[in-house]
Amino acid sequence: MANNGAVGYDLVVVGTSWGGLAALRTLVAGLPGDFQMAVALVQHRHKESDHLLRTLLQERTALEVCEVEDKMPLQHGRIYVAPPDYHTLVEPGHFSLSTEAPVRFSRPSIDVTFQSAADSYGHRTVGIVLTGANADGSAGLRRISDRGGMAIVQDPSTAESALMPAAAVKAVPRARVMELSDMVKFVAQLPAGDPERDER
């Protein structure tokens, strides 16, 4: 995948932990019904948590929300939730899961998803770090930014827990820092590509 012919963004990856549910609900509620990118959400949660997160998000959006299963294709206009107790990796055109050891005590690890998204979608990736109580996501957001993707961080002073966004801003000084409602509007108007074109 050469870094040429920027035709828009294919994939939005979002990472959060503490306080994430409310933020995620706001985020998905603000996406338009004809949103053209694939959206992958990684929230730290207990390994035995059920489908509640998916249900609570689906209540707030007309876009289809599904929990990732291995080799599930990435399609535009869909919202994917990383399942508990697995890492979710992004491949060109689909997801792969892994039970490798937790990274910084987390499985799913936001860094693992972000890094693989950056490696597979490069400059066509948007990475977003929201509220959270640890530093997961920083290294991954850095990778997205290094590959020419868009890095966005929730303004730490407006986040329920400032630690994760503050760490992300420190790791990626050029990240755009925004309050949640501005962020939703900003993402909604970004030009979209096609996440399925790379399937191989």
């Binding site: 080799k71 697995y86 899961l97 050891a101 290294a139 290094d146």
Partner: protein, 290 residues
């Protein structure tokens, strides 16, 4: 070229000035070299995970590039051994996904009671946590004496560990919780003795387990089975290889035999979906019907 700095843990990733095509080429060459020199075929593994593990090994060896790692493993079999562990060890637990075992008791055990003798294959058993879980479950259901469990893995090191039946003592609390949620009918501590920092499981549990090396990528079927467990193994394969292994499983199951996959794996994205019916609305238990 230095790795991007992170606080604490290494980044497990490629250097800064990044060329995706070059990285692809280096990984392909390394995997080709491993296959031609050592015979282990990782060429059809899911790419993102392979890339992650290779970069972790690059860092672990104190090297800079995937090509550096290629040179080292081709010339140093010990380095290859370390890489093999990185590539094949997957982190599991006894009674992982307790609801799965509960469903297995409810939906599969009644089917197994109809057979005079039961052959079960644990494909990609890693360090054996799941095999021991199944031995315990069958023991409690009174079926273990007519069962044989074939536990296979590509990696002989993990098989030797599985054979010992020793698991970390500090995980017994978690396993006990899992066991109870899975519908266990006894006290979990009956099954092991604490020894130093390990829990040694009762040798009688291994009386009907056969451990042997088997490579899902290159080896063929070796029997007909009533149940095949392959949970969270296929996730490391790409779609082409997944389909090949599904052919192997299909050919190795008796008619009405049961295929058990991991809870986030699905036949939906494979060509074998029409050959099976779902046995459970919630767990990935499938019965071969045609």
């Amino acid at each position: 070229m230095a790795l991007p700095v992170t606080d604490g843990e290494p980044l497990a990733g490629p250097p800064h000035a990044y060329n995706a095509d070059l990285e692809h080429l280096e990984i392909e060459l390394l995997l080709e070299g491993v296959y031609r020199h050592y015979g282990f075929d990782f060429r059809s593994y899911a790419f993102a995970s392979i890339r992650r593990r290779l970069w972790k090994r690059v860092e672990g060896e104190g090297l800079r590039t995937i090509s550096d790692l290629q040179a080292r493993i081709l010339h140093d079999p010990d380095a290859m051994e370390r890489l093999l562990l990185d590539l094949s060890v997957n982190v599991t637990a006894m009674f992982r996904d307790p609801t799965f075992y509960k469903e297995f008791r409810a939906r599969v055990i009644p089917l197994l009671r109809t057979y005079p003798f039961i052959r079960i294959w644990h494909a990609g058993c890693s360090t054996g946590e799941e095999v021991f879980s199944m031995a315990i479950l069958l023991e409690e259901e009174g079926l273990y004496d007519r069962a044989r469990l074939y536990a296979t893995d590509i990696n002989d090191v993990v098989l030797q560990r599985a054979k010992q039946g020793i698991f970390p003592l500090d995980r017994m609390q978690e396993y006990t919780d899992n066991y109870i949620k899975a519908g266990g009918t006894r006290s979990f501590s009956e099954y092991y003795t604490a020894k130093y920092d390990g829990a040694l499981f009762s040798p009688s549990l291994t009386r009907n387990i056969v451990f042997s090396q088997h490579n899902l990528v290159t080896d063929r079927s070796f029997s007909e089975f009533h149940v095949i467990f392959c949970r969270n193994v296929l996730i490391y394969f790409d779609k082409t290889l997944q389909n090949r292994v599904h052919t192997l499983f299909y050919d190795s199951l008796v008619t009405f035999g049961v295929l058990a996959l991991g809870s986030k794996e699905s036949l939906k994205f494979s060509q074998y979906e029409p050959c099976y019916e779902k046995l459970s609305p919630t767990e990935k238990l499938y019965r071969k019907v045609v």
